[in-house]
Symmetry: none
């Protein structure tokens, strides 16, 4: 699915932003970058530095002069847009867009363009009207201008999340089998082990004079609630019981403990 997504940047001014976009894309598993009429260098020190290891996307990027050329083979074209346009267009949130992708990609030859506009002025109305739908990232109304790489990051992240969900549900029952059970010591302690611990704990608290079984107040109930909420692992319960054993030993040792340094 992710290999069917193309990120299209129109009229980008700052090469550093192109590099930042490449990094954001590759981090999320998107590798198809297209540039329309960039307003400066594409590959320079700044873009390579910001790409931070994803500069192969810059070298592979297709550069064209028009949006039409860049998305000619695309079956769905979605343009990033600020909310209000004079002419209302189908508007998706990044999450709604991502939710549509598995279905979109079922079609053979499906290719989806995610189109982002200029740093200063976004997409023109003409460009927006070439899109099937618009995607709007919900931002602070008082400060809505996202950095270009940040906008790509959010949309690419949602696409990746949808892909991961699809992978998980595809794997279906096989997935469950594939998932290794946690190591034995990381497994949750059994009820019986926990009860043994609580008995040991109550005895120890009585020994150190903190608990009076004749006047229990809610002490053990509160401690049970705390420890049960934590769902102790076996290894953790072993440690807790080791502490109780050491406490009993230190307190009942006739010779007394070694003096503290």
């Amino acid at each position: 699915m992710l290999e069917r997504l193309r990120t299209v940047l129109i009229g980008t001014s700052h090469s550093g932003n192109i590099g930042g976009v490449a990094r954001a894309m590759h981090n999320m598993g998107l590798d198809d970058l297209a540039l329309v009429a960039p307003r400066g260098e594409v590959i320079d020190q700044e873009s390579i530095s910001r790409a931070s290891g994803a500069d192969h996307l810059l070298h592979q990027a297709r550069v064209s002069q028009t949006l039409d050329e860049a998305v000619a083979d695309c079956t769905l074209v979605v343009g990033a847009s600020a909310r209000s346009r004079t002419l209302p267009w189908p508007m998706l949130s990044p999450r709604e867009l991502a939710a549509r992708l598995p279905d979109e990609c079922r079609q053979e030859g499906a290719r989806i363009a995610l189109v982002f506009g200029r740093e200063d002025s976004g997409l023109t109305n003409d460009e927006l009207h070439r899109c099937h739908a618009h995607v709007h990232i919900p931002t602070n109304a008082d400060f809505s201008s996202l950095n270009l790489a940040a906008a790509v990051q959010v949309v690419a992240y949602e696409c990746r999340m949808a892909w991961l969900e699809q992978q998980a549900s595809k794997a279906g029952s096989d997935h469950q089998k594939a998932e290794k059970p946690p190591a034995s010591e990381e497994q949750r302690a059994s009820h019986a082990d926990l009860e043994r611990y609580f008995a040991h704990l109550e005895q120890t608290l009585t020994t150190i004079g903190f608990h009076d079984p004749q006047k229990p107040r809610q002490l053990m109930a509160r401690l049970r609630r705390l420890y049960l909420r934590a769902r102790p692992r076996r290894i953790e319960l072993n440690i807790l019981r080791g502490i109780l054993t050491a406490t009993n030993k230190a307190v009942t040792d006739k010779a007394g403990p070694p003096p503290r340094p």
Copy 2:
């Protein structure tokens, strides 16, 4: 809800990244920025340029030398982490973290720290062990290092999405009003209180001969994981500290404890 979120950056090297983080935060409606031991300038031409109008966050940012100081009043501390750690910790995706926020914020005085590490090396194990949970952004396994501002962007975006959903459902019904915040003693303990407890615990375990700070193995890390997972309430932490005090008293009491019946 968003005003209860604090973004904490530890040991940031590049002022431009701090500016980029400020922009990402303010775009998503998060305004509380804290910096721990920044490794360079905070306010300079680069950071102001990248903040792109959100530089008031830089001026308001609290700077401290330690993570403990930066999150002392926080009731939930979440650290950004790469997936695999030797000691598995409660791990959330950004979406799972965001889904927890409305409930977390119901408590009076709730404050949530989102902690991000160094550009080159992330958070240390010690820093990660001070967190209740870790948040992992699912990235391309072959190219997993996100730009700092991009990582903040994704987490802040999910927080904003959860907030928008909450606003929408609040508008639908006044259901939320009916739910009372928990009583004071049922409120969650703060980071500072928890750290005091862990120090007290470590001292006590050393006193009873269960722990050797020279050979720590993973003892304190495992105990931290257990207790942080349980999200102790104030009253529970009081009980746990009472147990430690009673243990110390019983052990160091020269006369020895009364014989057990």
